[in-house]
């Protein structure tokens, strides 16, 4: 991102106010904060606008795979550490199927890929792509395998192809899906770059080490390819960490364009593959392609991605409101908790498990968990009572009012505030079903 001073240098410095700002400097400050566009100044030259676009483009390109709302965006990063600013585009994960497999085996792998989807904190954590690998070396086999995948997979896809001829056949048929074409290390980069550019599809290339990758990226760029994803060809964790760190620092700190692309890893399956994916998720990867992924590996990995890519400044929150769960009536229990997403969705899921209808009151604690909010003075009995008042839940039900176990301390005061008895609930939400059965029987 350019600074206010860099923008200021480009402006005519006449302070004519045509941009709506009192001075050119004031306008430059807005530009630096991305609150205005350079075009808003009618007096700035065309070349200056072009030059600025070039230098103010994010240091890492954004590449999109797939189309529509399911498209996966990669890259676009501006910072090295997430405390500086939220990371832009979450890393994507793919599993690969081989075109030497028969259709039932492919269907089974696709079904397994689809099953790697988990509802958590109001989002779906899922696998992003299926990759089709041209192990047969033949076009016909490849196209058949792609059809077998598409029969049941409507998220983005990618192709792993070494042979330009096969790639041409595949893109002629499927370019509209905007697949990522991943050419192996031995592939002819220039030919692949021309092909991908012609079909408007993103290209993945592999070269061993940062120098070789930068060279390959330059060749692809000369051939007109803008949407590039780089595989630095790391063969172990250390290379993965060091090379990806060098590439990303060179792009961001040194504005070194040839390495300013999303980074990817092609791994196998099992422990070491997952470890590589974990590292890549932390340090600058945008895509990891597996041979296979088990649910016990996928859930922790997807959770990690969500943790790393969440905005460090703003916890994910839900709205303060009354949430009826399972059609509650005039005697159903009333439970309450904070508006921190993680807390809300955990508690909600456990109430649902009990199959007992409940009125769940969410109290705005500015996105803090139960104890954090309580220690910060944002989950006081007064605040809870006010939320009850606002939703009118106490008139809707005369059922027991359940206090989260961790803040049992607030029971007396809350009972006084609302003029009703309260019951202390469990500390952990997983014990809610049992407790609910006890208090409703």
């Amino acid at each position: 991102m350019a600074t206010a001073i860099e923008y200021f240098k480009l402006l005519p410095k006449t302070n004519c106010k045509d941009c709506g700002q009192p001075t050119c400097l004031a306008f430059a400050m807005l530009l630096a904060n991305q609150k205005a566009k350079l075009e808003d100044c009618p007096h700035v030259s065309g070349e200056a606008v072009e030059a600025m676009k070039e230098s103010s483009a994010p240091p890492v390109n954004t590449v999109k795979v797939g189309t529509g709302e399911n498209a996966v965006a990669m890259g676009g990063e501006n910072v090295l550490y997430r405390h500086e600013r939220r990371f832009e585009n979450p890393i994507a994960y793919a599993v690969s199927v081989s075109d030497s497999w028969d259709a039932p085996r492919i269907a089974e792998a696709v079904a397994k890929a689809k099953s790697l989807a988990f509802d958590r904190v109001g989002m779906v954590f899922r696998l992003d792509l299926v990759s089709v690998s041209n192990d047969s070396g033949e076009s016909d086999e490849f196209l058949a395998a792609v059809d077998a995948v598409l029969a049941d997979w409507d998220l983005p896809i990618m192709f792993e192809i070494n042979d330009v001829g096969v790639a041409e056949a595949a893109l002629s048929r499927h370019a509209a899906l905007k697949p990522l074409v991943y050419a192996g290390e031995t592939a002819d980069v220039e030919a692949f770059a021309k092909l991908a550019t012609k079909h408007g599809c993103p290209l993945g290339i592999r070269a061993k080490g940062v120098e070789a990758a930068a060279d390959a990226a330059e060749i692809a760029a000369k051939a007109g390819c803008k949407d590039l994803v780089l595989d630095l060809g790391a063969s172990n964790l250390k290379e993965c960490l060091e090379w990806q760190t060098i590439a990303r620092r060179a792009a961001i700190n040194r504005k070194f364009r040839p390495l300013g692309h999303p980074l990817m890893n092609r791994v196998g399956c099992g422990e070491y593959a997952v470890a590589t994916a974990v590292l890549s998720t932390l340090k600058y990867g945008s895509l990891v392609v597996f041979d296979g992924l088990e649910p016990y590996e996928a859930l922790p990995l997807f959770t990690l991605r969500q943790n790393i890519y969440t905005d460090p400044q703003v916890p994910i929150q839900v709205k303060q409101d009354l949430y009826p769960i399972g059609d509650p009536g005039p005697h159903s229990p009333i439970m309450f908790t904070t508006n921190f997403s993680l807390t809300y969705f955990t508690v909600r899921a456990d109430i649902e498990k009990s199959k007992i209808p409940v009125w769940l009151q969410i109290v705005n604690t500015e996105g803090l968990s139960v104890l954090t909010a309580y220690s910060a003075g944002k989950f006081e009995p007064e605040r809870v009572a006010a939320a009850f008042e606002e939703s009118g839940v106490l008139d809707k039900s005369d059922g027991p009012v359940v206090v989260p176990g961790l803040v049992a301390r607030m029971s007396g005061k809350l009972s006084e505030e609302i003029g009703r008895d309260v019951v202390v609930g469990t500390n952990e939400s997983k014990d809610i079903p049992k407790h609910l059965r006890e208090i409703t029987s």
């Binding site: 120098e211 390495l259 959770t303």
Partner: protein, 308 residues
């Protein structure tokens, strides 16, 4: 081939190096961000401490089942950790709380000595969390165990004098706890220094929140702590300790909900990922619960450090 601009940072400062136990194990010493050989000449990987308890009350059954019955005797349990490859033993004396167990002060001292004699590994001792009891038992251990340098866990802002004094008198180290906040972490180290604890005797625990339960905060707090230390903040230049065992408390890590796969494998990844995040954000010592997670993390850390 293309020339890549140099990206090594010249930080100018490093984290202190602290010998523990009988002096043959050293923690800390990082001069750059973790495992980057182009800016961090230290090839040291983080130490791994295996958790041992004097009582199994409240300890997850799934974890207990991974120690082949040897978890029943603390010294034997510690030996098993050594066989797995741990560099240190973390002893949590939960049983000294009379509502949990029957461990007396004499028992506690004996357990520490036994672990030391059998494993010769450095030891970190943690109390039961009840202040009066910890104030009695931990100082006894500090004065009666003299030939190995312990890490006494842990001291907090409202309660650090008694334990720090006992640790100093016995020639041991203290672990300074703070709650997920760089300024609080620094404040603790200043308090301890002002109280007379040498910087070389302080470890800090900034509270590692596990995967899916606040790891996002911890990861960034740790990175900021480490960057500030490297950039010259002397009060943060002490080795960082992260506990990863809390990963076992996360519902998703151990639930037997169908479709999530084998809980034993899942919790191993849950803890291993928590530990990898801890070391990638600067941890110098990982306190771990599960043997398979500890094993994975040690192997990966060795490879990343590029030494052995």
């Amino acid at each position: 081939m293309a020339e890549i601009p140099s990206v090594a940072e010249k930080y100018g400062s490093k984290v202190g190096e602290v010998p523990v136990g009988h002096g043959d194990y050293v923690a800390g010493g990082a001069g750059g961000m973790p495992f980057l050989s182009f800016e961090n000449p230290s090839k040291r990987r983080p130490m791994i401490a295996g958790e041992v308890r004097d009582s199994l009350v409240g300890y997850p059954e799934l974890a207990a089942g991974m120690f082949s019955g040897r978890e029943k005797d603390p010294a034997d349990w510690a030996m098993m950790w050594k066989e797995i490859g741990a560099d240190m033993i973390f002893l949590r004396l939960t049983g000294t709380d009379p509502s949990v167990g029957t461990t007396t002060a004499e028992d506690a001292v004996r357990i520490v000595k036994e672990i030391d004699e059998r494993t010769r590994l450095p030891i970190m001792v943690h109390g039961c969390g009840v202040q009066e009891i910890d104030h009695e038992i931990l100082p006894r251990i500090c004065s009666e165990v003299r030939d190995t340098r312990l890490i006494v866990s842990c001291v907090e802002e409202e309660d650090y004098k008694r334990l720090s004094a006992a640790a100093m008198a016995g020639g041991h180290h203290v672990l300074a706890f703070s709650n997920l906040d760089i300024n609080l972490a620094k404040q603790m180290n200043i308090l301890l220094s002002d109280f007379g604890v040498e910087k070389d005797n302080i470890f800090m625990d900034p509270l590692m929140a596990p995967l899916g339960m606040g790891l996002d905060y911890s990861y960034s707090v740790n990175e900021r702590i480490r960057l500030s230390a490297l950039r010259g903040d002397r009060m943060l230049q002490v080795p960082m300790v992260c506990h990863t065992g809390e990963a076992w408390d996360v519902a998703d890590a151990t639930s037997d909900e169908p479709g999530l796969g084998d809980p034993a494998h899942r919790v191993a990844w849950w803890e291993a990922i928590t530990a990898i995040c801890a070391m990638m954000s600067g941890a110098d010592l990982l306190v771990m619960r599960g043997p398979s997670a500890a094993d994975m993390v040690r192997v990966y850390a060795e490879e990343l450090a590029g030494g052995s």
